[in-house]
C-alpha cells in the first residue's frame, strides 16, 4: 500500500512537472504554429541558474525558482524577438532554428557549469516526509503537486476567463480574423512565448527536486514534453495537465510493474494515441 | 445517367450549417452556374463534390457511382477536375513543371522513380501544345510566381482541361481578372465540347449568364432557386438577396 501511494505521489508530481513544461510548449505550438524545440533547453537553463542561486550562492530556494524563471524567460525572449520573428511565415525554418538553439544552449551550459555531474537539490524546507492521514508522503513531491495545481488553476483562469486568454484562443483558431479585429498578434506571440519560457525556467528549478540537472536534460525533458503534447492534445491547459499526469503515472507505474520495459511504456502510450485518436485526448486541432 | 447527383447533402462546422439538405442533379454536358452571396456555401459544396471535405450527411453520385466517401485523388481519376478560388498553382515551380506534374496526375507513370520526365515525349508534346495555345511556351522555365495574375489564372484553367476531364468544377475562375481576360475565359468555356460537364461558381454575372444553361442560387446553405437564366434573373427572391447585399454595401440599412 505504501508502495502504491509512493508511486502515486511520484507519478503525479512528475506529471505536474511535465504539465508545467508541456503547457508552455503546447500553447506556443497551438498559437504560433511552431514547435519550440528549445523549450526543454529553457527548462534546463532555469534548473542550472536555480542551482547556482540555491546551492552555490546558498540563497533562498524559491528565489532560485524565480531567477530560474527569469533566466528562461530572457533566453526565450531573445530567441523569439531576435530570431524567430525575423523568419516570418517560414515555420520549417523557425523550427530548425530552435533546434540550433538547443545545441547552443546545451553547449553553453556545459561551458559554464561543466558537463559531467548530475545536480540534484531540494528546497531545505521540503526535506523528508510528512504524515497525511497516517501515511507518509515525501514533502517535496507534495509541494510540487500543490504548486502544479495552483499554476494549473491560474493558467486555466487566464485561458478561459480573461480577455487575453480569449485573444490567444481566437488566435489559435483563426489568425487572419484576429488580426483583422485590430489585435496586435505579434505582441501576443511575444507575451505568450515569454510566459511559457518563464514557466519552463521556473519548472526547471522546481522539477530539479525530482529530476536534477544534467547536460542533456534539455533533450530529455523536451522528449517528455512532446509526448505529453501528443497524448494530451494540443493548445490547451487542460490537455497539457491531463497528458502530463497520464504520462507521469504511466511512466512511474510502468517502471514499477514492468522494469524491463523501462522507458518504453510512454512510447507505447504515444503509439496507442497515434493509432486511436491522433489529435490527442483533449486535442483542439486535429 | 446523370453526370452528378447530390442527395440531401448537409455539412456542419461546429454549430454552423454550411449546407442543409442540398439536392440537385446535373445532366451530362450541362453547364450549371452556381451563384449566391458570400458564405452561402458554394465553395463548401465544391469541397464536398471534389472530396476535400467529408459531408455530415447525404450522398454524392458521380456518373452513377457513389463517391461520398471516396478520396479526392480517386475522384480525379474518375474524371473530376477542379480549379480553386485562390490560385493553387505551384508558385515556386516552373510553368513547365506545373504542366508536366498536372499531366502525369492520372497516368500510371506518375509512380516512376528512375526514368527522367524528359523520357516521356508524348506528355512533353501535350505540354507544348497546351502552353503554346495560351502563349506561355516561351515562359516555360519561368517560376509561376513571376507570371502576372492573369497569366496564372489562364494557366490554371488551361490545366484543368489538360486532364480531359468529364466534369469541370470552376470556382470563381475570373476573380481578379480584367474584363478582357474574363471575356477570354467565357469564350473558352463556350467552345467546350458536350462531353464535358461544367459546374461554375462565380460572382461575375456576365460570365455566369454567358455560359450557364441553368443557374442554381444558394443562400445560407440552401438552394433557393434552380432554373433557366431568364427565370432566375426575374425571380423576386433572388433580386431581394442581391438587392439586400447592394444596399448593405451602401449606407442604407436593410431589415
Amino acid at each position: 500500500m505504501e508502495l502504491v501511494l509512493a508511486s502515486l505521489t511520484n507519478g503525479i508530481s512528475f506529471g505536474m512537472v511535465l504539465f508545467l513544461i508541456a503547457s508552455g510548449l503546447s500553447i506556443v505550438m497551438g498559437l504560433m504554429g511552431i514547435v519550440n524545440l528549445a523549450h526543454g533547453a529553457l527548462y534546463m537553463v532555469g534548473a542550472y541558474v536555480g542551482w547556482t542561486i540555491a546551492v552555490q550562492l546558498k540563497l533562498n530556494f524559491w528565489l532560485g525558482v524565480f531567477v530560474g524563471g527569469i533566466a528562461g524567460a530572457l533566453a526565450g525572449l531573445l530567441i523569439e524577438r531576435a530570431f524567430i520573428r525575423r523568419l516570418y511565415k517560414q515555420p520549417n525554418e523557425q523550427v530548425l532554428l530552435t533546434f540550433g538553439f538547443v545545441y547552443i544552449l546545451s553547449n553553453l551550459i556545459i561551458w559554464i557549469w561543466g558537463g559531467h555531474r548530475r545536480l540534484q537539490f531540494t528546497a531545505p524546507a521540503l526535506y523528508g516526509s510528512m504524515d497525511v492521514a497516517g501515511m507518509p508522503f515525501a514533502k517535496d513531491r507534495l509541494a510540487i503537486i500543490g504548486i502544479g495545481i495552483i499554476i494549473a488553476v491560474i493558467l486555466w483562469w487566464l485561458q478561459e476567463k480573461t480577455r487575453f486568454g480569449a485573444i490567444v484562443r481566437a488566435g489559435m483558431d483563426n489568425k487572419e480574423m484576429t488580426t483583422g479585429l485590430g489585435i496586435n498578434l505579434e505582441l501576443v506571440f511575444t507575451i505568450v512565448f515569454f510566459l511559457a519560457a518563464f514557466i519552463a525556467g521556473a519548472a526547471g528549478v522546481i522539477g530539479a527536486q525530482l529530476l536534477g540537472a544534467y547536460s542533456w536534460l534539455g533533450t530529455d525533458i523536451l522528449l517528455w514534453a512532446l509526448i505529453v503534447v501528443v497524448v494530451g492534445g494540443l493548445g490547451s491547459v487542460q490537455g497539457a495537465l491531463l497528458g502530463g499526469i497520464a504520462i507521469g503515472l504511466i511512466d512511474t507505474f510502468g517502471k514499477a510493474l514492468f522494469p524491463q520495459l523501462a522507458m518504453f511504456t510512454i512510447y507505447l502510450a504515444m503509439i496507442v494515441i497515434l493509432l486511436a485518436k491522433p489529435s490527442g485526448l483533449l486535442g483542439r486541432k486535429a | 445517367m446523370e453526370a452528378l447527383k447530390v442527395k440531401d447533402l448537409t455539412k456542419d462546422f461546429g454549430g454552423v450549417h454550411a449546407l442543409s439538405d442540398v439536392s440537385f442533379s446535373v445532366e451530362i454536358g450541362e453547364r450549371l452556374g452556381i451563384i449566391g452571396p458570400n458564405g452561402a456555401g458554394k465553395t463548401t459544396l465544391f469541397n464536398l463534390i471534389n472530396g476535400q471535405l467529408p459531408p455530415t450527411s447525404g450522398r454524392i453520385y458521380f456518373f452513377g457511382q457513389d463517391i461520398t466517401t471516396m478520396p479526392t485523388h480517386s475522384r480525379a481519376h474518375l474524371g473530376q477536375s477542379r480549379s480553386f478560388q485562390i490560385t493553387s498553382l505551384f508558385l515556386n515551380l516552373t510553368v513547365l513543371d506545373n504542366t508536366l506534374i498536372t499531366l502525369h496526375g492520372i497516368k500510371p507513370s506518375r509512380f516512376q522513380m528512375l526514368r527522367p520526365t524528359t523520357a516521356y515525349a508524348n506528355l512533353f508534346a501535350k505540354a507544348q501544345g497546351i502552353l503554346t495555345s495560351i502563349a506561355l511556351w516561351e515562359q516555360r522555365d519561368e517560376l509561376v510566381k513571376n507570371l502576372s495574375y492573369g497569366e496564372q489564372r489562364k494557366l490554371e484553367i488551361a490545366l484543368t482541361l489538360a486532364l480531359e476531364p468529364k466534369m469541370l468544377l470552376l470556382d470563381e475562375p475570373s476573380s481578379g481578372l480584367t474584363s478582357a481576360e474574363s471575356a477570354e475565359i467565357t469564350d473558352m468555356l463556350k467552345k467546350l465540347g458536350r462531353d464535358i460537364t461544367v459546374l461554375l461558381v462565380a460572382h461575375d454575372m456576365d460570365l455566369v449568364f454567358g455560359v450557364a444553361e441553368r443557374i442554381m442560387v444558394l443562400h445560407y446553405g440552401k438552394i433557393i432557386a434552380n432554373g433557366k437564366p431568364e427565370d432566375i434573373r426575374a425571380d423576386p427572391r433572388v433580386k431581394e438577396i442581391y438587392m439586400g447585399m447592394e444596399k448593405n454595401a451602401g449606407t442604407t440599412k436593410v431589415t
Partner: protein, 337 residues
C-alpha cells in the same frame, strides 16, 4: 509538331549536355584523384565526407523535395549500422554483400514502421513523432545488452568488410575508393529519382498537397514511399559508416547525429542535387580542422553556424554556386533551344 521534332527541341546537342554535366564530371574527377595524393589521415576525412554526403542526400529527399521536416533521421542510419555490427559481433558474418543487404533491409523496416505511424499526423505533430521515435531507438540501443560489446555502450572492434576476394587486404586508400564507388552509385540513383515523375510529384506535394490530390496523386502514398526510400539510403550510409568508424554507439542513433544531415542540407542548399554534398564537404572538413584547435567548443560553433545559416544563407551555398554557374554559361555557353 511531330514527336521527333519535339524531342529535338528539348534534348540538347551533346556539346551542351557535356557543359551541363561538366561540374559533376569535374567533381567526380576531383574525388577520384585528389585524395590519392593526400596523407592517409586526410584520406579518412574524405571517406567520412562521402559517408555523410550520402546521409545528407538521403535526408534531402524527404526534407528538401517532399518538404517534410523529419527529426530523428539517425534512427535509420544507426539501425542499419547496429544491425550490421550485431551481425559481426554475434554471428561473425562480415561478408559485405550480406551486411549491406541486411543494413538496407533493417533501415527499410524501421522507416516503414516509424513512417506509417508518423504520417498519421502532419506538420508539427509529424516532427514530434519522428523525433520521439528517434529517441525511442536511442533508449533501446542504450538498454539492450545484446547490442553491446560486453563492458561498454555500443559495439567496438568492427573489422572492414570482407569482399570475398582471396588475397585482398584493405588500406586507407582502397577503402576510400570502395566507399566512393558506392557513393557514386547511390548519388546517381538519387539523381534519377529527383528527375523522375516521382521526384516531380514530391516537389508538387511540397508546394501544394491539396492541389496534388485534386490532380489525382495519392499524396500519402508518395510521402510514405519517399520516407522509406530516404530510410533505405540512410541505411546504406549507416552501413558504410560502421565500416569507416569501426565502432557504433547509441549516440549514432540520437538527436546529435540526426542533426548532422540537417545542418549539411541547410548550409549546402535543400532541394538540390549537390547541396547536401557541398554541405557535407563544408561541415566534415570544418569539423576536422576545429577538432585540431577547439574540440570542446566545436558543437557550440556548429550550433551557431547552423543558426546563422538559417537566418542569412537562404538556399544555401548551392544557390549561389548555381547562379554563378548560370552567369558563366550565359557568357561562354550557347543559347538553349
Amino acid at each position: 509538331m511531330t514527336t521527333n521534332k519535339i524531342i529535338e527541341a528539348i534534348r540538347q546537342p551533346w556539346q551542351l549536355q557535356l557543359i551541363r554535366f561538366s561540374p559533376y564530371i569535374a567533381g567526380a574527377l576531383i574525388l577520384v584523384m585528389l585524395p590519392a595524393v593526400m596523407p592517409s589521415y586526410v584520406q579518412t576525412v574524405w571517406t567520412r565526407f562521402l559517408v555523410f554526403a550520402l546521409f545528407a542526400s538521403s535526408y534531402d529527399l524527404i526534407y528538401g523535395h517532399a518538404g517534410l521536416l523529419s527529426l530523428g533521421h539517425a534512427a535509420y542510419f544507426g539501425a542499419a549500422g547496429y544491425a550490421v555490427a550485431a551481425l559481426i559481433l554475434h554471428y561473425n558474418v562480415d561478408s559485405l554483400w550480406i551486411s549491406l543487404s541486411l543494413g538496407i533491409l533493417i533501415a527499410v523496416l524501421v522507416s516503414a514502421g516509424f513512417g506509417f505511424l508518423a504520417l498519421r499526423v502532419s506538420g508539427m505533430y509529424f516532427l514530434l513523432v519522428t523525433f520521439a521515435f528517434g529517441e525511442a531507438l536511442y533508449a533501446f540501443t542504450w538498454n539492450m545488452p545484446w547490442l553491446s560489446t560486453p563492458g561498454m555502450q555500443g559495439i567496438a572492434g568492427l573489422p572492414r568488410p570482407s569482399l570475398g576476394i582471396p588475397g585482398f587486404s584493405w588500406n586507407t586508400l582502397n577503402f576510400y575508393y570502395f566507399i566512393l564507388i558506392i557513393f557514386l552509385i547511390c548519388f546517381f540513383l538519387v539523381y534519377r529519382i529527383m528527375n523522375s515523375p516521382f521526384g516531380h510529384a514530391l516537389r508538387g506535394i511540397r508546394e501544394g498537397e491539396s492541389r496534388m490530390r485534386a490532380l489525382g496523386y495519392n499524396t500519402w502514398l508518395y510521402k510514405y514511399i519517399a520516407f522509406i526510400t530516404t530510410g533505405a539510403f540512410a541505411g546504406v550510409a549507416g552501413t558504410l559508416f560502421i565500416y569507416y568508424n569501426r565502432f557504433i554507439s547509441p549516440t549514432h542513433v540520437s538527436v546529435t547525429t540526426s542533426f548532422m544531415p540537417m545542418i549539411m542540407v541547410i548550409i549546402g542548399g535543400s532541394g538540390t542535387l549537390l547541396g547536401p554534398v557541398i554541405g557535407a564537404l563544408v561541415i566534415v572538413f570544418t569539423e576536422y580542422f576545429a577538432s585540431l584547435f577547439t574540440p570542446e567548443r566545436w558543437p557550440l560553433i556548429l550550433g551557431a553556424v547552423f543558426v546563422a545559416a538559417i537566418m542569412y544563407a537562404r538556399g544555401g551555398i548551392s544557390i549561389h554556386l548555381s547562379r554563378l554557374w548560370k552567369r558563366l554559361n550565359n557568357r561562354y555557353g550557347s543559347i538553349k533551344s
